[in-house]
Every structure is written in C-alpha cells, then in structure tokens.
C-alpha cells in the first residue's frame, strides 16, 4: 500500500524498448563517469555560462564548471550510492522476510521487526541516520539500506510464505526433498521474478531519496549528484541560466520513467511466466 510505483501506462513494445534503452544509456554514461578525476567536475576552468561546444558539450554553469563532467559525475554517483544501497536493502529485506516466515517465536520476532520497520517513515530513518553516519565512508549506500528495506519486506514475506505453501513444494517435501535443495529449487525459483521486481522498486526509491537528500544538502558532502545539481541549477535559473536545472531534471525524469517502464515490463513478463 505504501508504494506508488505500480505503473498503469499502456505503451507499445517499441516505446517500452526506447524508454528502457534511454535508461540503460544514462546508466552506461554513469560508468564512464566512474573513471573521471574529481578535478574535472570541480574545476572552475571555463567562462561562466558559456554555450555548448566540442570541449564542453553541455556548456558551463554560472560558476564556470563543465556541465558535462558534472553530469557524468552525478550519474556515476548513482552507481556508488543507489545501486549498492538498493542491493543491500533488498538482501536485508529478503533475510527478514525468510525469518518472518518461520514458525514459532523466531517467526513472531521477525514479524515484529517487520512491523517496526513498517511503522517508521523511511525518510525519517534516512534523516536520523544521516546525522549518525555523517563521517562514515559510503554513508549514502548504508543509509538507503537502513531506510529502504521496510518498503518491500512485507510483500517479500508474503511471497515467500505463499511459495512455501505451494502444492508442488508440499509434494516435494512429501517425497523427501529437504534443506537447501528445497529452498533453492522449489521455493525460491518460482518467486524469483517477483523478488527481482522488488529490487527494481528499491532502486527507484533509492534514486528518488538520493535526489531528495542531495537537494537538501544532507549526507552527500564532497560529491556531485542530481539533487545538488538541481539546487545549484535552481539558483542559476533564477538569474536566467537554466541549463544545469534542465540537464539534471530531464536526466532524472528519464531515469525514473525508464525504470517505471522496466517495472511494467517485468510485471508483464512475470504474469506470462506464471501463466
């Protein structure tokens, strides 16, 4: 109920492929940005507000920084924070979901933990965690892991439980299949696409919250991301130079839209697969 991401758009196969291609291209640009030195995007080496050219494909911002280099760095930051953060949150949610599906006091305690996580707004955990982890390296990824897992843990637990109670699993148990083989081959494999879909949901949430934190200037010291590009771009746009604002805004919208399309695509594939 808390997720607002179930996409209702009915788009054609080609449009879907185009959107996903755009998202993948943006993420690939982020990989290019991983290798660039910090001086390239920090340096005030260009004339403020110059127009796009071969040397600076997106021009320069009001401070004279290369916008293309900043954009690459902002996309690279997604690989450093939101991807590992979403992966850690997914793993944590899966472990808790399995724990909560057990019988007896262990399961009850796991379900209580899910309740606890569900009752605290993720944004609040993110802000409180940002104070505590202010000087920890890789704080953003840790923060996302801490704050995001409740978003999907409950539905993961439901999927896991329904996987456990499926007829073929009960039949396999009757035939004597037990332990890791039962979990891996009979419980996990049928619900695998659903679990991967949750990873995508987590990534979208991490993307949005990363932008929010960057916009507020919290927990992102010394980096350039789409959020602080928006803040800086907004100040420049008020003075009539909207390039940075537009680049960050359009990139972010394209990324989110592409991931929502991917979510829709995965949902459709899952339905076909289950059928």
């Amino acid at each position: 109920m808390r997720s607002t991401l179930s996409p209702p758009l009915r788009v054609s196969g080609l449009a879907l492929r185009l959107q996903q291609g755009l998202g993948l291209a943006l993420m690939a640009c982020g990989l290019l940005g991983l290798g660039q030195p910090a001086e390239r995007w920090m340096a005030l080496s260009l004339a403020p507000g110059i127009k796009p050219s071969w040397q600076a494909p997106f021009g320069a911002n009001a401070l004279g920084q290369d916008l293309f280099a900043r954009w690459l760095e902002a996309l690279a930051e997604l690989w450093r924070s939101s991807v590992p953060g979403a992966a850690m949150a997914w793993l944590l949610a899966l472990l808790l979901a399995v724990w909560a599906s057990q019988r007896g006091w262990r399961g009850a305690f796991g379900r209580w933990l899910l309740d606890l996580g569900d009752s605290l707004p993720g944004l609040l955990v993110l802000l409180a965690g940002a104070v505590a982890l202010a000087e920890v390296p890789g704080a953003s990824a840790l923060l996302f892991a801490l704050a995001l897992w409740p978003e999907v843990a409950r539905s993961m637990a439901q999927q896991w439980r329904s996987g456990q109670e499926a007829m073929h699993v009960l039949a396999a148990q009757t035939l004597g299949v037990q332990g890791a083989r039962l979990w891996w081959r009979h419980v996990l494999r049928p619900i695998w696409p659903l679990l991967l879909r949750q990873a995508l949901v987590l990534w979208i949430m991490a993307l949005k919250w990363g932008v929010l934190l960057g916009f507020l200037g919290i927990g992102q010291g010394g980096t350039c991301n789409l959020g602080n590009m928006l803040t800086q771009g907004l100040a420049a746009a008020r003075l009539g130079a909207p390039a940075e604002l537009l680049i960050a805004g359009i990139s972010l919208s394209c990324l989110t839209f592409a991931s929502l399309s991917a979510l829709q695509y995965s949902e459709r594939r899952t339905r076909e697969w289950n059928a």
Binding site: L116, D118, A132, V211, L212, F215, I218, L234
Partner: protein, 339 residues
C-alpha cells in the same frame, strides 16, 4: 392467541430475532474495534519507544562526537570534558534512554545545542507554519483525485499526465513549476520568497504557488491508485449484480462503500507521508522557516536533541496513524483485517 393470527406472530418473532442479531453484530463489531484500538495503541507506544532507543543509539555512536559538534575541532581537552559532563554524555545507554522517555512523556524535549532555545515551543510554532503551507495543497489534490477517479471522460489523459508527474518526482516538479511561474526567466506571475508570518491577503498570495505545486503533485500521486481501486471495485460481483438488477443507485452506493474502506486507509497513511516530504522540499525552495527546514538544518548541524525530539514526535504520530488506519479498515470492512 393473538388477534393478529399466527403468521403475524411469526413475522414479529423473526423481526425481533433479526433486531437481536443486528444488535449482537454491532456489539461484537464494537468490541472488535475496541480490541483493535487497544492492541494497536499499545503497539504504537512500544514502537515509538523502540524508535527512540534506535535513534538514541545511532546518535550516541555516531561520528563526530558530541563535544566536537558543539565545541568545534579547535576545543581543548578541558572544554571537551566539560561539554560531556554538562550534557551527561557518559551516562549509560539504558539510563539515558529511560531519562529521555520520562522527559518526553512530560513534553519536555530539552534545548537545541545550536541555539539554546527550548525545543517544545519551537516545534509547535514551526509545525503550525508548515502545516499551513502544505495542508491546503495536499488536501485539494486528494479531494480532486477522489472526485475524478470515477469519471470516464479524459481518464486516459489524466492517467498518463499523472505518471509523467510521478516519474519527475516532487523535487523536479516543484523546481520546474517554480522556475516556470515565478522566475524572471519564466512567466514571473507569482511571488517566490518573502511569505509574511501573519495571516492575510499577502500571505494567501504567497501561498498560491506552493498550493498549486502540491495540489497537482498530490493529485498525480493519488489518482492512479484511486482509479485502479475504482476499476477493481466496479468489477466486483456485488456491484455487477446491483447493476444487473437495474438499480444504479444501489450499485453506486455499494461501490462507494467498498472504495471508502480501502481508499480511506490508503489516504490516512499516504497523505501524511507526502505532507512530510513536501515540508522538506517546499520549505527549501520557498525559504519558509518551518518544520522541514528546521529538521534539515538540525541534521546538517548535527543538532542531536532536535533530531531526536522530531524523530520521537513523528514516529509517535505515524504509529498513531497506523492505529487510525487499522480502525478505519476494521470499521469499513471487518474481513480486511482477517485477510
């Protein structure tokens, strides 16, 4: 024997039985509701205390240490020791937690490390200011979404437009709209900064842009979910049955009743979450000294008493909203809780 005959006696008996059953049903429903309220209130209080413990543990263990936040990096050893002594920073965790819970239960939230001001009164003032900023927009957006979820005209357009806005996200949407409507490079129609502290015509004029932004975003956020819920409810057998019997009024009432249950719970939790995120974003953009701005500055400054107090208050508030959600669900459809 009654003068009215055995049939009428049978009828009156069955009516009495039906009334009795109805009274029994409503009694058991009330008892069930009370049980749910009691159980969830207990859980809400417990969860808020655990949240406080978690937050306290995070903040005590966090870097940089308290004396460095207050005294700065240049403070000498004596000054640092004094800061720790004054703040009782070496108190064992359990007693610190119990002392905090006891103080909070008396609405004593302590003082800000940065400004020295008492947190309680400032929290009330800032919360009021922020709610005045965000509530009109959020409520208008939700009401509009609720009203238009059942309409067939232009539903495809509204759905697509909503998803473009949701994909852009609140930060991008608010930034873009603000740039378009109030910057010299755009249309420059509406004022941006300088919202007056007192209510009046000027205050309303300044409120127009935040309300418009948030109204549109809240609408886009709620519309797809409400629309999907409406379609799902409209396809249910009791609605189809009522329609087949040729009673459109009954079908409408049944659909409204079924929607009220889930949508009420949906809005009870999602609207406050959206309002909280909106406080953080809009106050940053419009320069309003409200609750969100206070919290984000406290996080940036490492002002831990403020972060702790706000976390506790919000955790309690959201836990109570969960209670309200449960009660609403139980009231609207007792089967929902079993499911």
């Amino acid at each position: 024997m009654s003068a009215l005959g055995p049939e009428s006696k049978l009828e009156s008996n069955s009516e009495a039985g039906r009334e009795g059953a109805l009274t029994g049903d409503s009694r058991s429903l009330t008892a069930g509701l009370l049980r749910v309220v009691g159980r969830t209130l207990l859980r809400a209080g417990l969860l808020a205390c655990v949240a406080l413990a978690l937050c306290l543990a995070l903040l005590r263990q966090g870097a940089p240490p308290i004396e460095q936040v207050i005294g700065g990096r240049g403070a000498d050893a004596e000054a640092r020791a004094q800061i720790r002594r004054v703040l009782d920073a070496d108190q064992p965790f359990l007693s610190a937690w119990l002392a905090t819970v006891a103080a909070y239960s008396k609405a004593d939230f302590g003082r800000s490390w940065r400004t020295g001001a008492r947190i309680g009164p400032e929290l009330r003032v800032r919360l009021g200011r922020s709610l005045a900023l965000v509530l009109p927009g959020v409520l208008l957006g939700q009401i509009w979404a609720w009203r238009s979820a059942g309409a067939r005209r232009l539903s495809g357009f509204f759905e697509s437009a909503s998803w473009f806005v949701v994909a852009a996200g609140l930060v991008v949407f608010a930034t873009a709209l603000q740039w378009l409507l109030s910057s010299p490079g755009g249309l420059n129609w509406l004022p941006l900064h300088g919202m007056p502290a007192s209510f009046g015509a000027d205050w309303l004029w300044h409120l127009l842009l935040p309300t418009l932004t948030l109204g549109l975003f809240a609408y886009a956020n709620a519309y797809p979910a409400l629309r999907a819920l409406f379609e799902q409810t409209a396809a249910q057998s009791f609605v189809l049955g009522a329609r087949a019997r040729g009673t459109p009024g009954q079908a409408k009432a049944a659909r409204a009743r079924a929607m009220r249950g889930t949508a009420g719970a949906l809005l009870l939790y999602r609207v406050p979450l959206l309002a909280f995120a909106a406080m953080m974003v809009l106050e940053q953009i419009y320069g309003v000294p409200g609750f969100g701005e206070w919290l984000s500055r406290a996080v940036l400054d490492g002002d831990r008493p403020v972060v702790l107090a706000v976390t506790f208050v919000l955790a309690l508030l959201f836990a109570l909203l969960k209670v309200a959600e449960q009660v609403w669900l139980q009231w609207a459809d007792p089967r929902a809780l079993d499911a």
